[in-house]
């Protein structure tokens, strides 16, 4: 069974603090949906609202088309996996997994049987009688998933469940989570501040900042066609260049960066800019290329050079004092940097996004 979730203009207020501001979106049944944002952006609050621990101040949460107002966390068809997993340390693995069944009065024998089934599903057979503390981080992770799946919920809610793992394991668990989701076919709602996790696993991602949902899109669209300055700067690495609009031609915008440099870029979502408006042009480091002619060509001084094997990260400084990051693929050819440390670079207008000036993600 899978169920849709509708957030109908949900706002959540803690005293004077607006934690979630008018969240409005629909999540399809069987979808892997992520909420991505920095800590304190309201994503966990929203998840706890779906699970029933928090009531929305305004708006409605619908699960499977039913209004969840007044329905407690124990009565919702959701199962929540906590950031620290919240496994019970004094119970065995099987007891942990079967706890939701114990609550529902399932017999000891049946519980044991179901626990062993689930242990097979998560590829941890033979660990039923181990203590939770004897398992490794990744194994505990899987036990938490098994426990959440024990009562066959319609929706699995995951609150940054991979954040405690080391990098290698995290990358491995991404694949595994996605596989489990496909196998059981449930709706997954995943909370994370790690854009890598969100992009690799999700069908769709909602990017949040300060309680506001900035953009809802599939990972490719999110990366290639960001709608706001925050999304452009939070998802992936990017260069933000302050520009002044001079002219608009359909989707294309002509703008002037400092030092008389003219840039061409795309206006996001067909937004209409007035000439003279202050905006930001965003271009990804890997979209910068060595180029002598064409649109958006400028010269910059190389001030930093980090070699990473497959990539070479250059720090550039233009004549007007604009800092740029450039990622060069190591294809065996030397970087065309002049003897004076000057490199001529260009970038395609189709990959340059001109967005309204707004707060950027830090770091």
């Amino acid at each position: 069974m899978t169920k849709t979730i509708n957030l109908d203009h949900v706002s959540i207020r803690f005293g004077a603090h607006l934690a979630v501001d008018d969240a409005h979106l629909d999540i399809a049944g069987g979808e892997f949906f992520s909420f991505l944002g920095p800590s304190g952006c309201g994503k966990t609050t929203l998840l706890r609202c779906v699970s029933g621990f928090i009531q929305p101040t305004e708006g409605r949460v619908l699960i499977g088309g039913q209004d969840m107002k007044g329905v407690g966390p124990n009565k919702r068809p959701t199962a929540l996996i906590f950031q620290n997993l919240a496994l019970f340390p004094l119970m065995s693995v099987a007891e942990n997994i079967a706890f939701p069944l114990e609550v529902r009065g399932v017999s000891r024998k049946q519980r044991r049987k179901r626990a062993e089934e689930l242990l097979d599903l998560i590829a941890l057979p033979g660990t039923a009688d181990k203590k939770v503390t004897e398992l490794s981080g990744g194994q505990r992770q899987r036990v938490a998933i098994a426990r959440a799946l024990a009562v066959e919920p319609d929706i699995l809610l995951l609150d940054e469940p991979l954040s405690a793992l080391d990098l290698k394991l995290r990358q491995h668990m991404r694949t595994e989570l996605r596989e489990i989701q496909k196998r059981v076919g449930l709706t997954f709602i995943y909370i994370t501040h790690d854009q890598g996790e969100a992009l690799t696993m999700s069908d769709r991602v909602a990017v949040m900042s300060k309680g506001v949902i900035e953009q809802v899109a599939d990972p490719v669209t999110l990366y290639d066609r960001p709608k706001t300055s925050f999304v452009a700067s939070f998802v992936g690495e990017t260069n933000a260049i302050p520009v002044t609009i001079t002219e608009r031609q359909d989707e294309m915008v002509v703008a002037e960066a400092g030092g008389g440099i003219i840039l061409r870029g795309m206006s996001a979502g067909g937004r209409h800019y007035r000439p003279g408006e202050q905006c930001l042009a965003f271009i990804r480091p890997e979209q910068l290329r060595p180029a002598e002619t064409g649109d958006n060509v400028l010269a910059a001084r190389v001030v930093g050079d980090e070699f990473e094997g497959n990539l070479r990260h250059l720090s550039l400084l233009t004549a007007s004092g604009q800092q740029l990051r450039m990622a060069l693929v190591n294809d065996g050819r030397p970087a065309p940097i002049g003897a004076d440390g000057i490199i001529a670079i260009g970038f395609a207008p189709a990959q340059t996004w001109v967005l309204p000036d707004g707060p950027l993600a830090k770091g």
């Binding site: 966390p73 929540l80 906590f82 620290n84 019970f88 706890f99 609550v103």
Partner: protein, 307 residues
């Protein structure tokens, strides 16, 4: 011995000879002079005859089990039922007081650790601690006043029409149980609080999310976590209650002796120190047995109780 000395090495390596010697000396002093020696002395005295000072060390000063025999058989005609009953009653009453304390303190400790807001929790701790700035004897007298025939409890009960004649709470031992229960609640609350505080709140919420009722959350998640604290609190409260002196003296009914009062009488009224020592050793033995019982019941190790 070699092992014990090897354990001391890091002490000297870390603090140098002077400070290391001081610490080693202070610990030795504490353990041997203040703990081991008095207990050993009491055990030794309990096996001696009650001799006038002049005869000590003389030919009559030999070891005897007569004081223990006296506790069991009195003058020799059957069991010493009076003293055995007093010990039994003391142990039973202490166990009851300990049970009351668990029932009373578990919710308080849980509230302190997870229920109350920090500001409220601070006030609760103040409310718990401040009464203990008053001496134990004075607190016992306060209970005597509260439970007296014209006291607060009788006054309230009669004005609300719950009963018409003043109830003699002292004679009924209710004042005694109340006083003893209150006397050591801190020693129950804080160990439980310590154990429960380490519980991750998410576990409670996870259990709730899985549909567990509040009693199941406590039974399966919180109480297992609190167990070492409960065991430690039980041990301390039981020992201090059996060893209580002031509260039974002040709040006990006229026909009701606490075992410590018996010990006191042997030492002070009868001037029979060996017999008093024997009775004290018996009390210590009972307490040690109780500790082992707690370890069995709660399936915890001695180290966990001591924490």
């Amino acid at each position: 011995m070699n092992r014990a000395l090897a354990d001391l090495r890091p002490l000297f390596d870390r603090y140098g000879l002077g400070v290391g010697l001081f610490i080693a000396g202070a610990v030795t002093l504490w353990v041997f002079i203040l703990i081991v020696l008095p207990q050993v002395a009491m055990v030794v005295i309990s096996f001696s005859h009650n001799l006038p000072p002049a005869e000590r060390g003389g030919p009559n000063d030999v070891y005897t089990v007569s004081h223990y025999a006296y506790f069991l058989f009195g003058q020799g005609d059957g069991f010493n039922s009076l003293h055995l009953q007093i010990l039994g009653k003391t142990v039973l009453a202490s166990a009851l007081v300990t049970l009351f304390d668990v029932i009373l303190c578990y919710p308080i400790a849980y509230m302190l650790a997870h229920g109350a807001r920090p500001s409220v929790a601070r006030l609760m701790v103040m409310g718990l601690i401040v009464p203990y700035w008053v001496n134990e004897v004075l607190r016992a007298f306060a209970f005597r006043i509260i439970f007296g025939s014209t006291g607060l409890v009788n006054g309230l009960g009669m004005s609300m029409g719950l009963w018409s004649e003043p109830i003699d709470f002292i004679r009924e031992d209710i004042a005694l149980y109340a006083g003893l229960t209150y006397a050591y609640i801190l020693l129950m609350i804080f160990p439980i609080y310590n154990a429960v505080e380490a519980l991750d709140r998410n576990q409670i919420e996870a259990a709730r999310d899985m549909g567990a009722s509040w009693w199941r959350i406590h039974w399966r998640v919180v109480i297992p976590m609190a167990k070492p604290g409960i065991a430690s609190g039980c041990t301390m409260v039981f020992m201090l209650t059996t060893g209580a002196m002031a509260a039974p003296q002040i709040l006990g009914g006229p026909s009701n002796l606490w075992f410590t009062q018996l010990v006191y009488q042997w030492f002070n009224d009868a001037s029979n120190w060996p017999r008093g020592s024997a009775y004290a050793v018996i009390l210590v033995g009972v307490c040690i047995l109780f500790t082992f019982l707690m370890m069995r019941v709660f399936k915890v190790k001695i180290g966990e109780i001591g924490r």
